[in-house]
Amino acid sequence: MIDFKIKIGKMLWKNPVTVASGTFGLEFGELFDISQLGAIVTKTVTLHPKQGNAPPRIAETEAGLLNSIGLQNPGIENFIKTDLHEYRIIDTNLIVSISADSISQFGEVIQELERQSGIDGYEINVSCPNVESEGIIFGTDNKTVFKLVSMIKKTTERTVIVKLTPNLTSIENIARVAENAGADAISLINTVYGMAIDIETRKPKIKNVIAGYSGIGIKPIALQNVFRVAKVVKIPIIGMGGIRNTNDALEFIIAGATAVAVGTQNFVNPLSTLDIIQGLKKYLDEKKVQYKDLINSVNF
């Protein structure tokens, strides 16, 4: 029997496979038993409801997907009343992805969630603008990340995962800062800035113009980010960015990820997480490797 239980912060995962925030929902439960996942990461929720960006919000490029959903979500109060009730009874780890406009608003969201049972961890989505500092993206500013993560760690005993954006000069620096501030794990990468134009109409293919690029086209970028971060932090990494199948997942694990998340591929094959869980088992079995020996095992 292959054992690939892993620990992410205080959480024990039965396997290292989860889903990327925003690409998954309770609807997948109609297709398979989602308690089979190592963890479930919710769509990002915010304090107030968000109606999201004007459409078109999705466009396919030659080798990936552009999206600009604009964090459409019902707000924390409605989230608690609706989705959370269903999520919490699913027998696996529940990670709520959260975002906010300011550090204090992050605090408010966490406080709301702290009153709720059934949540195992938070994923802090820092890929959005901080209104308190001229709209600079939280995740690109070391000081802000330090303050934010420190604050959150004081507010909760639950596992705190910081989800990094790749759109910056040094992913190592920000990862170190997150670790120093007490983050239990790091997940990366969020989408890469991207754009596409319809040459007939000269309109941007995404109404919001600059969008988030995901899918197979970003895999090499995601991998190098995971690899670089794994060299500088001790906390576990949840790797993502273009993972479609077992082989892609293995690349991330070898590069340094303790767990992997599937995003865009959920839209292609909604069962791909299950395929990957099976595929990883098979690989470990055939290669007679222990899962922990596979993590961060690039052979130079």
Binding site: G22, G25, G52, A54, R57, A59, L65, I69, V268, L271
Partner: protein, 248 residues
Amino acid sequence: MFYKVLPIVEKEVINNKYFIITFTNFEMAEQSCPGQFFKLKGLEQEFPILPRPFSVFKKEDSKLSFLIKVVGTATKNLSQLKIEERVALLGPLGNGFQIHNGKKVLIVSGGIGYAPLNFLRDGLNKADNEITFFHGGKNANDVFSKNIRIYTEDGSIGEKGLVTDGVEEFLSQNQIDVVYTCGPENMLRKVKEICEGFKTKLYMSMETVMACGIGSCCGCAIKVEENGKPVYKKVCKDGPVFDGYKIV
């Protein structure tokens, strides 16, 4: 809703723009209602990445057929598949057309918009509706049935002109309870305008680019009026069929 990989069991090439592919699956067929759709992707076809949405065109026992128009790469790839080659299907998805009983209904179809409306007709027939079916296309190649009132822009078959020309005339001469429509944006807008005058019920099947297709990603947003306010709805889950008057 199911995700299954199925072989193509029948394929009919209508002309160089349109083809029909058929799959057999009891559960999927059983659950499919008019107006619902599936996401399809050839199993070996890596790019484009996203499976594409296609309405159920016909259901016969366990058989589900899709009428597909070749417009870009994904549809071209599907058109090249042969019988026995495998396709990944996700569906049935979305909310179909509401079917009333014993009404006088008009179906207004434009181009490939014909696909869901063909299946709808079967449903309406079973519910004892009195159906008039108008279909418009650019030319004879865009016409899939001769049994209905046809308009083509070039007049190569049926009447010359836009299908909406006929709709206006027809509604002014007939008392119609419900209008069902699917087709290009311009046509939908025009149909709505016309129907407003006659105060019919109006069901419209909408299209947007889709990612998940099941309501999880919020990618397929469309602005719809709700309680007098514009809100974003998901075409894949709240639609694709909407109250035509509520589309902003």
